[in-house]
Symmetry: C2
Subunit: 137 residues, 2 copies
DNA sequence: CTCGTTGCAAATGCTTTGCAATTGG
DNA sequence: CCAATTGCAAAGCATTTGCAACGAG
């Protein structure tokens, strides 16, 4: 089940009950929780877990490249455990719902050499915006 | 000079000295200031201007569609007056410098119908990442 | 055992808000 | 004139940090 936890353990990560709970809560597809949501769900299983630990843990997962930070607008960052398969995000302009999507082609290809201004370009993030089915109705 | 101010005035915007200074400070190409930087530069000309007013003013410019908010990572939002010509951003992973860039083609075209999940997709933002010339050296 | 990890509470950084005083049209 | 705008200071979030106690290996 918890592929995320397995991957982290495999990297010599020290596993504590707090870290396990955070990894379990965050695991799955189309999961895009804020740090606070992660804390709330983790606290259901481990009531004493602190916000600080959740932040530390999420930060480490990001450093290890197993979790991706998604900065939606100006609100709280969201955390996406789906870091192994490259993907982009489709965000509802009204309710903020996020879906993982897989565009065709390589986004990097759309930036021609003369538009790179001497940068060593290494990646591109695409955020598609629109109204989700629930908000259209 | 201040095209931005002219555009705002043309929309029936009430112009005060504070608003004029904010508009002037923000005008130009490849300008991506934080609210605090705008406040600092505005205060050089109008020492009593408050942060609250700068925030209010920037927020209104964004609502009117004349200025674009750029949320870089987890730091302060940046404000881009270049809202009339569509463009994307190239951000230095080390120092955070931002350049406006113009990719080829329409980013929306890369998201096929079967990846839209019933959303009414209306736009796409692309952030290219890499090292700027200064940070490569 | 020992060092990494945790929890707490306080601090920080960015942004918003309530409200009385001010001012543009 | 008078509603819109401003400044101030305080409140509001999201996140980070210092440090003593704790616990995994």
């Amino acid at each position: 089940m918890s592929d995320l936890l397995e991957r982290l353990r495999g990297r010599g990560w020290r596993v504590t009950s707090q870290r396990r709970v955070v990894a379990e809560v965050l695991d799955g597809d189309h999961v895009h929780l804020t740090a606070d949501e992660v804390h709330a769900r983790a606290a259901e299983r481990l009531p004493e877990i602190s916000r600080a630990t959740v932040y530390n843990t999420l930060g480490e997962m990001v450093s290890l490249g197993e979790v991706m930070e998604v900065s939606t607008d100006g609100r709280a960052k969201r955390y996406d455990p789906n870091a192994h398969h490259p993907h982009q995000h489709l965000v509802c302009s009204r309710c903020g719902t996020i879906r993982d999507v897989r565009p065709t082609g390589d986004p990097l290809a759309s930036l021609p050499p003369e538009e790179r201004f001497g940068f060593a370009v290494s990646g591109a993030e695409v955020t598609y915006r629109g109204l989700c089915p629930a908000c259209i109705a």
